[in-house]
């Protein structure tokens, strides 16, 4: 569906993205993850055919973005980081305008608008003026405009930014419901969000792709960790744990808490080591937010 090869984008002297390559298959929901300023929005703007790349090639549905931008644009729905809404228009008028702009035949516009409103639970807001809507509704109108022409590819830049927890939950459900009908590429700097909605993650840092794969694949990599709570004698425990084969590091989190950089499969060995060293084991578990630590590791190696 999307083939990106050596994508590079310079803003003046500054490279926002460097030599980015990845492929996305039809029907996948992909999370594009990175800290603020990592180059997510720039990449999505290039894929959304708003910006032209400095170098590299992008193919969407087999069409080259560089030579056939017009054809590509018919196949995508793009929600930029700020929803592109005309505040003085009503929701229905606005969606109708967008549908026509994206080439929906005049006689089908009304139906498509209703369909998009139903998908984003905006039906009751049809006649409301966009400028009077709350942030959550505005964000939904933003998603509705991206899918009103039934594009094959949906590009959503931070669809949950600024939403409250209840709205985030709704948005997640909305995105999950889109699976199958559309290929979805969404960005976020919040991990749990993408790990719950996406089939596969692309992690980007300083304009470069640092990791990609499913959550499980990424966890199997270097980042897995185990949390250990003990009865006391923290120094003894630390030495004992560090001695186990396969442990990459031990971090003291509190008076009785440790985090061990090791695969969760090593848990029995860790317990044996602790017991052997006469340390009481209170609790041992895989680290709670594994992906979080992977993410931080992948994106923060430069500061370490």
């Amino acid at each position: 569906m999307i083939e990106v090869e050596g994508l590079t984008k310079y803003y003046g002297e500054h490279a926002a993205i460097r030599d980015l390559s990845f492929t996305i298959n039809k029907g996948e929901v992909i999370g594009f993850l990175g800290l603020n300023g990592a180059g997510k929005s720039t990449t999505l703007r290039v894929l959304g055919a708003v910006l032209l790349p400095t170098a590299g090639r992008v193919k969407i549905d087999g069409l080259d973005l560089g030579t056939e931008p017009h054809e590509v644009r018919k196949r995508i729905g793009f929600l930029p980081d700020v929803p592109p809404l005309y505040n003085e228009m009503s929701v229905g008028d606005y969606l109708g305008f967008v549908a026509q702009l994206r080439g929906v035949p005049a006689e089908e516009v009304e139906g498509r608008v209703r369909e998009a409103e139903a998908k984003t639970t905006l039906t009751e807001m049809h006649g409301e003026i966009i400028g009077t809507l709350s942030h959550g509704y505005r964000q939904r109108v933003g998603v509705a405009q991206a899918l009103v022409h039934r594009p094959q590819l949906l590009i959503l830049d931070e669809p949950t930014s600024g939403l409250d927890p209840a709205q985030i939950k709704e948005m997640r459900k909305l995105i999950r419901d889109l699976r199958g009908e559309h290929t979805v590429l969404l960005s976020s700097h919040i991990l749990p969000e993408v790990s719950q909605t996406c089939d596969r993650l692309l992690i980007i840092d300083e304009g470069k792709l640092v990791a990609s794969g499913t959550e499980a694949e990424l966890s199997r990599g270097s980042g897995a960790a185990v949390d250990v709570e003990i009865g006391g004698a923290i120094d003894k425990a630390k030495t004992a744990l560090a001695g186990v084969e396969g442990v990459r590091g031990v971090e003291v989190l509190g008076a009785t808490q440790l985090r061990v950089q090791a695969s969760p499969e090593l848990r029995p060995a860790l317990v044996r080591a602790l017991v052997g060293a006469n340390v009481d084991v209170v609790r041992i578990d895989r680290a709670a937010s594994q992906l979080e630590s992977i993410f931080m590791q992948l994106t923060q190696t430069r500061s370490a």
């Binding site: 803003y11 708003v50 980081d81 700020v82 592109p84 809404l85 505040n87 305008f97 702009l101």
Partner: protein, 242 residues
């Protein structure tokens, strides 16, 4: 073509969905009316009707230029400020269609605005002796002059995301075009006539004011509009590369 009209229709409706359109129309009509009473009619009642009409077109040309700058200020600047330009840029619409659609909306609004001032020449027509041809020529001139100013304003609106800055930049450009006649006066011969002919008003508008349509004046205004719009499209394209 479809996309141009679609964008134009939305934009034109936008003038009336917000206060901007009404404020511009009201302000222009008030200023036009005051000037008509104090300036065109004159103190005595001994003025000929053609003279009154000519004076009306004279001050209307100034008002039209100023109004055009305000009409065009939001065209592209506001889209960028609100982020809605991303909607247009990611849609299957070509850059020139975006600019042209926006410009046509502004031109349509200007036509409505000029139409609203028709009652003044109509009064002259009823009370005095003037020809329809004179009225038509004058309005045609106003529309052309306004079209050129709107195109310059569109360019001003394309190069910044602030509407206020757009107004200032457009005003500077329009004034620069206006004072070309003065540059022509202080330069020597072949150059002087080049500058005089470049001027936005001094050579090209007075014939319309007197009720005469010269092809070269029409061409001048069309060319100015074309160049300014072409530059606007280029600015939009360049921003994709930036």
């Amino acid at each position: 073509m479809n996309a141009i009209l679609l964008i134009a229709r939305r934009e034109l409706a936008g003038y009336f969905r917000t206060w901007l359109g009404y404020i511009i129309i009201a302000a222009v009509l008030v200023v036009d009316g005051l000037l008509f009473n104090s300036f065109a009619l004159g103190s005595g009642m001994d003025r000929k009707s053609t003279e009154v009409l000519s004076q009306f077109f004279f001050f209307s040309s100034g008002v039209t230029m100023i109004a055009s700058i305000f009409i065009s200020m939001r065209l592209l600047a506001a889209e960028r400020e609100a982020g809605t330009v991303n909607l247009l840029l990611s849609s299957p619409v070509r850059d020139f269609e975006i600019v042209l659609g926006k410009y046509l909306a502004a031109l349509g609004f200007l036509a409505i605005l000029l139409g609203a001032s028709l009652y003044m020449p109509a009064m002259v027509l009823v009370a005095g002796k003037i020809s329809w041809g004179h009225v038509f020529a004058g309005y045609f001139g106003l529309l052309l002059l306004g079209a050129a100013a709107l195109a310059v304003g569109t360019f001003g609106s394309a190069i910044t995301r602030s509407q206020i800055l757009a107004v200032i930049l457009s005003a500077v450009m329009v004034v620069a075009l206006l004072v070309m006649w003065w540059v022509g006066r202080v330069t020597d011969r072949p150059l002087s006539s080049v500058f005089e002919n470049l001027a936005l008003w001094s050579l090209h508008f007075p014939p319309f004011q007197a009720g005469i349509i010269h092809l070269r004046d029409v061409i001048y205004y069309v060319v100015v509009s074309y160049v300014a719009l072409f530059a606007s499209v280029r600015v939009l394209e360049a921003r994709r590369w930036r």
